[in-house]
């Protein structure tokens, strides 16, 4: 940083709140689980859609090659 520029810490609004480390750790423990559930649900829906179309639409339309 150029030395003649003010630090953002000069403004009280830019200074981070006090963090409760225990609470932060508790939240951070849940974050990967939530991400996994969200991504898992999205991928499961996509895979289910693919399987349904493959089995119920593509295969009954007959052989091709």
């Amino acid at each position: 940083m150029v030395s003649d520029q003010p630090s953002s810490a000069a403004s009280p609004r830019e200074v981070a709140d006090d963090v409760d480390e225990v609470a932060l750790a508790r939240v951070m423990r849940m974050v990967p689980l939530g991400a996994a559930v969200l991504a898992g649900t999205a991928v499961a829906l996509l895979v289910a859609g693919y399987l349904l179309i493959y089995i119920l639409v593509f295969l009954p339309r007959g052989t091709v090659g």
Binding site: V22, A25, R26, M28, R29, P32, L33, A36, A39, G40, V43, V47, Y50, Y54, F58, L59, P60, R61, G62, T63, V64, G65
Partner: protein, 185 residues
């Protein structure tokens, strides 16, 4: 896992990622297995046929001459359809095929790239000048099916379509020369 041990937390995240990777691996293996299974047991494959033909002369003689277009049943009972995709029509305009019997479709183009699909079936191919597009299939339904050109081929592209008449066995009657025309309706 403990709040006081970030290493344990990171280990747990790594385990989650490995579990995810394992799940993705299982899905890819299942999808590939399904494709392989249907390919081996049901002959479901991407149509692939590299067979050259001269687009300048294909209408003059040989397989795609006018008298040879349409549906033909060979002496061995094999059903073969030959058609030309040209600006802006399919020749013939109506193609008769039997339902629930193996059919070989062969297409050629004398001018530009065309494409076709037959609605309600898995038939879908490009017709590239210089090559014969070939698709093996079996029609699982009867009735009139629309076969439009699905590759933009010029100003009349939207008018380029044909009808595929999938006939039940008792209506699919080859003539003495083994040729079958569309039933009049």
């Amino acid at each position: 896992m403990s709040d006081t041990h970030p290493e344990a937390h990171e280990r747990w995240i790594l385990q989650t990622e490995l579990l995810w990777a394992f799940g993705v691996g299982v899905f890819i293996a299942a999808a590939l297995g399904m494709i392989l299974f249907t390919a081996l047991t049901m002959n479901v494959n991407p149509p692939s046929n590299v067979e050259r033909i001269n687009p300048k002369t294909l209408h003059l003689a040989g397989e795609f001459a006018e008298h040879n277009l349409g549906t033909a049943v060979g002496s061995d009972g094999r059903v073969t359809v030959r058609a030309i995709a040209t600006q802006f029509m399919f020749l013939p305009h109506c193609i008769a095929v039997p339902a629930n019997r193996p059919v070989t479709l062969r297409f050629a183009s004398p001018d530009v790239i065309h494409g076709l699909l037959i609605t309600g079936t898995n038939v879908n191919t490009m017709v590239v000048p210089g090559f014969v597009a070939q698709v093996h299939t079996e029609f699982t339904q009867t009735g009139d099916l629309l076969m439009p050109c699905h590759e933009y081929c010029g100003l009349g592209h939207s008018e380029m379509w044909a009808t595929v008449q999938a006939l039940p066995d008792n209506e699919f009657k080859p003539g003495p020369d083994g040729r079958v025309s569309c039933a009049k309706r």
